[in-house]
Symmetry: C2
Subunit: 382 residues, 2 copies
């Protein structure tokens, strides 16, 4: 078997140029060289977030970004509506409770998106809700919520809409300003195509106004401090120089391609995966599949955890399994990162080989040729 393939919903495969940049000798963050890079990155992050507002860089995982939104925007005792459609929705609801939020949980069945009408109803019945929390894509179920529709509802209330876009921003179209999102977070090891270690946070005007008045204690995740430093051309804490240099490359590349074209390429990978899976006799777990990650139901009678492990050990393809109630039932294939056609084809081919080893009725060679044909029939126009 040839090279290892990593198609997880983060971390993702790195661009060879990113690997080179990470290997460069260290430079200090208080140097003209780094100042120039940081300024360019902060500017390019705005296009990436489709916003005119500043996007802040934090040295933390994505969960640190979710925490930043909470501690800067939630006052002790305030009511919160948390859309919970999987593991990360649960995490954010728990977090809001830890910081004193009175959390209404709108639970969705796993693999189902939230019904915007249900959001509207709860907000109507609970006019004191100050924050609405939702994932853009719930990573654990590979399910995309209709953020545009939710934002349309929330923006007409006094509540702020906070969106965990960790498995979404940069992978498909999320319009911070146009849709009126109030807080949006992205993570480095997802569509930003870097190693884990950074997250990115953006606030709307009304969110900044609330942050200024918010009484919840915070220091490391204090966004006002960070913004002030950025305005002086610095980060408040030591800059994660290596990551930020690589980020500069990634954002420049995406901006050269064009954001919408970049999204089209991600969508193509998702479409490919779903179409070939269907032809293999596999069904989708989610009724609202995301363009960033696809969850496939593992055929009846096969243990998904064992299949995933077998695929990794024998065929060197790392995808993710299911968590909690989806454990052993699904595999999740990521569409973000540096992915070439050979990775797409080989992943489906080797998945077929692995399934065959579990006596599933599939013809790997046919999967391979169908995959190649599909990609030829659906070229990506740079």
């Amino acid at each position: 078997m040839s090279n290892a393939i990593l198609l997880a919903p983060g971390p993702v495969q790195l661009h060879p140029e990113v690997q080179k940049i990470l290997a460069q000798p260290m430079i200090h963050h208080r140097t003209p060289e780094f100042d120039t890079i940081l300024a360019r990155v902060l500017e390019n992050l705005k296009s990436f977030f489709q916003t005119k507002h500043p996007v802040l860089i934090q040295t933390s995982t994505g969960s640190g970004g979710m925490e930043a939104l909470i501690v800067n925007l939630l006052n002790q005792g305030e009511e919160v509506l948390a859309i919970v459609s999987g593991k990360f929705g649960e995490r954010w609801a728990d977090m809001a409770e830890v910081y004193g939020g009175r959390v209404h949980r709108l639970n969705c069945d796993w693999g189902k998106p939230v019904d915007p009408a249900a959001v509207k109803k709860i907000l109507g019945e609970n006019p004191n809700i100050k924050l609405v929390l939702t994932q853009a894509t719930e990573t654990s179920t590979a399910t995309a919520h209709d953020i545009k529709a939710i934002a349309e509802i929330v923006s007409k209330t006094e509540a702020l809409l906070l969106v965990d876009g960790i498995t979404a921003v940069g992978a498909y179209d999320i319009r911070m300003d146009e849709w009126k999102i109030d807080g949006l977070v992205a993570g480095s090891q997802k569509a930003v195509m870097l190693p884990t270690g950074l997250c990115f946070v953006c606030l709307s005007e009304r969110a900044w106004a609330k942050a200024k008045a918010c009484k919840t204690p915070r220091f490391y995740f204090d966004l006002q401090k960070e913004l002030k430093s950025n305005q002086k051309g610095e980060t408040y804490f030591s800059s994660a120089v290596a990551h930020i240099k690589a980020l500069d490359f990634v954002l420049s590349e995406i901006s050269k391609t064009g954001l919408m074209k970049h999204f089209a390429e991600q969508r193509r990978r998702a479409d490919f995966t779903r179409e070939i899976a269907k032809q293999m006799g596999l069904s989708l777990y989610s009724s609202s599949p995301s363009d960033s990650v696809t969850a496939l139901n593992v055929p009846e009678g096969i243990d998904g955890a064992k299949l995933r492990e077998h695929l990794e050990k024998k065929y060197l393809v790392t995808v993710m399994g299911g968590q909690d109630q989806a454990k052993g039932k699904i595999i999740r294939i990521g569409h973000m990162g540096y992915i070439q056609e050979v990775h797409l084809i080989e992943t489906m081919y080797r998945l077929a080989l692995a399934l065959k080893d579990f006596s599933f009725n599939v013809e790997p060679e046919k999967v391979k040729s169908t995959s190649t044909t599909w990609l030829e029939a659906h070229p990506f126009e740079q």
Copy 2:
């Protein structure tokens, strides 16, 4: 001028092998390969911290580690003694106040270490003090405090001693368990010789007991959550895979050398810098110079900020200047990271060249030969 040199008190020069590791293709953190690395790293971190207690890895800068110690160990309204001898002491005292601490600040003159007797006196007069905060080395003044003496005093009281060892742990001897330190934090871009992005936190037994009872809300920096995940062989949040793989290499290297020998090499760099500086006619800023970083007074009549910039622009040597009240008055030369003899010699030589450009009376060629002679006379025995 040959290659660029970075001798700052963090970030530091990377080992070539670390650069290679950072350039490797990404692997997922939920794989047997990473599990093995994480287990080894968590074990080796204990020796590095000279402790039998677990050392936790956080994806954040060092300040995130300082915050973790506060939010896990400080209850709202408790009295805190903060030793403030520079910028980072100020930051920690501010942080404790943000989280509801009633902070007594023991201010030291910049460049002077704290007098342990003063600590004893304050603790005697204020028996309700629950936490004592101190830097091991105050980076902004390159001053080392006598942590052993402070720990001897604090450990006889009910207060916990929390030590910011960000510019110390791994550079010189800090004995977590033997000296009875209750909380200790280190940072990746310092003596751990990695890029910025990780910090490391360790608690004593009595600190863990307090953390369990501590009421301050926390999620991202919740050490109990992280400990529990580590016990299952995982990190709670996405692991910073690239950094942790490189960390594995660094810790293995240091353990091969032996911790005390490794410290001796750092000490040699510090001794070298101070001795050659003295011969050049430069004096030390600190009365208790640290082995991790040396602050030199910039000669009368020369603007230190301009000197630093000139050294960087013309001679490609990045060292740091002074901050706040030491601004323009000092330069700080780091001793941590991947430093070879050529870097030591060239730094002092080029510093002499830069000083000469500012009409300082120094003979660069003589500095170079003296430097070489000194190193030959003081060999490092591997």
